[in-house]
């Protein structure tokens, strides 16, 4: 960038008083993370949620959300909350302290259904996605049903990943990570749990 207004790179963003100093704080806050390739052997029990839920609604991408009133944890399916403990255990090497359970829900994606890109803000939230079935692979549409994540890195790049749905596999991510799923070719189900967390850095 050249021109009399920006004589040096250091001055390139000068004169923006509402942003410059706060940005240094925000920069330190970009501690996003994605933990993938995890496996939860007890995943099948959560398929019951799609028969036992009291509430449901159709989301924008035509997936149907199934959940208990208030998006409470389905203790009729997992009375000892073993899955919540499993999630916390998987995150023991991430520099965070998992706090309160926030909400849980299942999503059924019929053929053609997808999930728009979104993140879970504000504050410090984490979200876990457990795949409950394995769609047949497709040569024509290899990304069908895949979960995608877009994560900002400290190097100012965007880390884009795709996660193939395989039953029992799970992905846990920071709430600032944008995610969504590609249109499905056949019915697929996921179970999602959100927590609050705090950083320990």
């Amino acid at each position: 960038m050249s021109g009399p207004e920006f004589p040096t790179p250091d001055q390139f963003l000068g004169g923006i008083p509402t942003m410059f100093e706060p940005s240094s704080q925000q920069l330190q806050a970009i501690d996003t993370w994605v933990v993938d390739d995890l496996y939860y052997p007890g995943y099948k029990k959560f398929l019951k949620l799609f028969n036992n839920s009291s509430e449901r609604h159709v989301d924008w991408g035509n997936g149907t959300l199934y959940y208990k009133r208030g998006m409470e944890y389905p203790t009729d399916i997992d009375p000892k909350k073993e899955y919540l403990e499993f999630i916390k255990f998987q995150l023991q090497n991430v520099p965070i302290r998992v706090k309160e359970f926030q909400k849980a829900w299942g999503v059924k994606y019929p053929p053609g259904a997808y999930s728009g890109l979104h993140c879970h803000q504000p504050g410090r939230q984490l979200t876990s996605v457990l795949f409950l079935d394995t769609p047949k692979p497709s040569v024509a549409y290899p990304l069908a049903g895949c979960l995608t994540t877009l994560q900002p890195t400290p190097e100012s790049t965007i880390n884009y990943l795709t996660h193939k749905p395989i039953e029992g596999k799970m992905v846990i991510m920071d709430g600032k990570v944008y995610h969504g799923s590609y249109p499905a070719l056949e019915d697929r189900h996921v179970f999602v749990v959100d927590f609050e967390y705090e950083s320990v850095i």
Binding site: M1, S2, G3, F6, P7, T8, P9, F12, L13, I16, T18, M19, F20, E21, P22, S23, Q25, Q26, L27, I30, W60, G61, G112, Y114, G116, L117, H118, C119, Y141, L143, T148, L150, P152, P154, S156, T157, I158, Y160, K176, Y178, Y182, P183
Partner: protein, 194 residues
């Protein structure tokens, strides 16, 4: 003033873009009233193939510019003048038809270290519905390079609207419930810090 209170998040990103003060991950928008001139291109393409997601891509040999006139290219260059980029050069162009229920996966237009920008011109208007609000919309995920935060943008398909973005910006199209047509041009460019 408290720093957190002063922080404006996405607003700062759009301010930077609007004023041309951002060399990376930028997005710029404009309107091109003569968009209809590109519609005849769809009738007699030299080449075409179906992209992942089902859209039909059409293009001249080597993705060359299909006209003698460079009026539109000049319009784009004028539109992004505020960024003071150097060596803005046409790279390639193509045009797409998205039949019902087709989409475009997330992608960038990065090219091995060469700065690239892409310009999407909407050639028809897609209806907006509260039941299916994502219908055919262009979704972009970019970054505020000052804060390192991701910035999300959802762009309605309105005939004549033009979106120019840095090649590093991730973008894709949500499944459309009605036919959708766009014209795309890529440029290479340089950023020169004086």
């Amino acid at each position: 003033m408290d720093l957190d209170e002063a922080y404006q998040g996405d607003k700062d990103f759009w301010w930077l873009c609007f004023n041309g003060r951002i060399p990376d991950y930028w997005i710029s928008k404009d309107k091109y009233k003569d968009y209809w001139k590109f519609l005849p291109l769809f009738d007699h393409p030299k080449n075409q193939h179906v992209d992942y997601g089902g859209a039909v891509i059409q293009y001249d040999d080597d993705f060359a510019w299909p006209y003698h006139s460079t009026e539109y290219l000049d319009f784009i260059k004028k539109s992004i003048e505020k960024f003071q980029f150097k060596n803005v050069k046409f790279k390639k162009c193509w045009w797409l038809t998205y039949p019902e229920n087709t989409f475009s996966g997330l992608h960038t237009h990065e090219d091995r270290g060469q700065r690239t920008m892409t310009c999407v011109l909407f050639l028809n208007t897609i209806s907006v519905s509260t039941v299916t609000p994502l219908n055919g919309k262009l979704k972009a995920i970019t970054m505020n390079p000052v804060t390192g935060e991701l910035v999300s943008d959802m762009i309605k398909c309105i005939a004549g609207d033009m979106v120019v973005m840095d090649g590093k910006v991730y973008h894709g199209v949500y499944p459309t419930l009605e036919e959708r047509k766009v014209f795309v041009v890529d440029f290479t460019y340089d950023v020169e810090y004086d």
